[in-house]
Every structure is written in structure tokens, then in C-alpha cells.
Symmetry: C2
Amino acid sequence: MRIAILGGTGNIGKGLALRWAYKHEIIIGSREQSKAEQMKESYEQILLENTTKTCNISGVKNDKAVAAADIVIVAVPYKALKSLVDSIHPFLTNQVIVSLVVPMEKQNSYLKYVQPDDGSAAAELKKLVPDAIGVVAAFHNLSARKLCNLESHLDYDVVVCGSDKEAKKKVIELIEDINGIRPLDGGGLENAAIIESLTPFLINLARRNNLHELGVKFV
Amino acid sequence: MRIAILGGTGNIGKGLALRWAYKHEIIIGSREQSKAEQMKESYEQILLENTTKTCNISGVKNDKAVAAADIVIVAVPYKALKSLVDSIHPFLTNQVIVSLVVPMEKQNSYLKYVQPDDGSAAAELKKLVPDAIGVVAAFHNLSARKLCNLESHLDYDVVVCGSDKEAKKKVIELIEDINGIRPLDGGGLENAAIIESLTPFLINLARRNNLHELGVKFV
């Protein structure tokens, strides 16, 4: 698969690039070509230190990344979502978009989920893109630190919400390519709010209990 | 501690009774004396099959259970909450109440969290009881089946939300008495909605993915 990764919110995007680069073609997207190239080089460096396998990473501007991709990972902050979609809209044809976006804001020392009028960031994104584009919500509840550390053994569940069954199936298959992550079907896109809202909940929980970045496992 | 357990929604109440009976005094409450006695006997039978240790369980009407307790576990369905509180209100003096209540309803084949106007069932309960009574929300995201099976090895996290710090501390200590459950501080009672809403989410997730009853572990 050709996977465009746009934005690196909380470094989940970076972690996914590193974990998929052995098997898929990774296209790092950024607003600036130079920044995309920088990221590509730093990711390649990490991969070279960890494997002798061939990895396929490139770095280009967001619109070019999207034009070349089958799957588009959107990992930008919520406030950048609308302008990102505006910039890539003309290049959306039949890709699947995966939303990692979480609308949240600081309240005292903790984070609070700010539910968009459409119910979730993923549902809002779905309204912003052409009808043919399948939108799936996933990867909100992982530890980016562990995902980025290729020596770290993962043991997480990733809940995948989406109303386009074909799109969801593709994303579930991509998740199965990462050792130690079990994809779980979370139902339609109308269920995305709860997995988005778990992100600030997990961050606050870690902070309150002096724990490292938390992911989730259903047992 | 003298722990009153009122109601057995999803059998979490039963599981807690069985797991605590070795160490604490358990008072099973029910609307009817005869039903409370029946439950007491059936729990004692299970405990006798599993241990030679002395266990202390009694079964009485809800109001008597509350009058005799330090901690009151409220595990009734949401629709029974108001009338339960009405019946025990005169006997509330300085107990700590632990709410396991989850307002949810069926929608097609799945469950949906129905958020009360007060934000959560626990927050609503807090408004219904005398000011001096500490209310804590906990035990929403456990597998009742595993909790009730004393041979089952547990490995769960229980998030505890409550704004009364002393009350929350007591509940956290009680959770530490159950092997395999780690209590985590979830902050104030205003955070109870997310742990309540995780209950239908987990039930739906299990159903969609053909899994057994799910609990949660933060890793």
C-alpha cells in the first residue's frame, strides 16, 4: 500500500511510518517540502539503525503525498484540520482517510475533549471530503513513545470506527501488519467520539497517577 | 470495613461481595429480606467451595444494610436509582457511596450511553444524597464473569472518580484488597461520564468482535 502520513501529532504518525516502512511505501507529507524531506531523512536514519531490510520512504508536500497515496493518515492537530483538507481536497479521488485527530483543549492542568458539532473530528472530516472518500477513525489510544521505539514490544488494542466497510477492512489489515497491535471493530463513524475522547482521558490518567504514556488493552 | 452491596447489576456486585468477603464484613441489601437472604446463602455456598477461611456475609433489606455500613456499593440499574436513594436516604449519615450505575439503553442491537442532565449517574446520585455523603464512581469497566469466578486470575484497572478525597482514598484502599485490580485516580466526579460511557462501549465492542465480556487495562 502507498500510505501518506500527514502531520505528526503526538508522534503517532512517526511511529506508524517506522512500523510500516518495512512493508509499505511511506510518503511523509508536510506543508513544506523541506520539512517533509527532513522527516524522511530522520526516519530513514532510525530504520537503518534497526534493520538491514529495504525501507521505502519519501517526503513531499501534503498535496503530492495525497495524490500518490492509497491511504491517507491525518495526524494533524484539530485546529489545522480544515485548512489541511482545503489544501488536499483537489487530490482526493478514491483514497481512504484515517483520522487520528482529537479536538481537545487545556483546562487547568488537564486536557478536556471538546466535542465538535458533528459529533467527532472524524465525522467532521467526513463532511469536508468528497462523498466517495471513506473515512475511518483509529490510532487514538496508543503510546506514541512506544510506537516510535522499534525495540519496544507493543501490546495494544486499536479500535477502528468507520461506516464504509471496505475502507475499514483496509485499515484493519494495515493494523494487522504491526506486531502487537490488535485491531477491533468499533462500529460506524458515529462511534468515533468515544475513542477520540479517550485520548485526553488517557493523558490525564497518566498524569494523575504518575504513569508513562498510556495506551489501552481490552481484557 | 462494613460494606453494603445494593443490587447486582451485571453481577459486579456479586463479584465484589465474593472477592471482599474474606477480609471485610459484607451486607447484601435487597428490597426484600427474603431475596437478600437467598443471595447471602448462595454467595456463602460459593465461598465455602473455594476457601476454608471465615467469611462474614449477611443479607438484609436495603435500609438496614445502609444503616449498618461504612461503604455502600450502589449497583442497581439507572432506572431504579431514584427510588433506591429515596428508600435509604434517612439512613445516610457518614457512609461513602460507590456508584456503579450506568444509564444506557438499547439502540438496534447495541447499547448507547444516555448521559443524564447532571453529567453522569454518579453526579446525579451526589445531588440526591445529603451533602456530607461522599460519592465515588468506580467498577464500571470490569468483567463480572471473571470477577465472580474466584479461580479466575484478574488483570484489570479500575478508574476511580470522586471529588471527596477522603472517600476516594477509602475506595482505592478497598480496591487494593482485590488481587489483580489496580485502582487509578480518575480525578473528580465530573469525570465519571467517561467511565460510565465506557460500559456500553465495551459491551458493544465485545459483541462486534466476538469476544467475551471485556474489562480494561491501561498499558
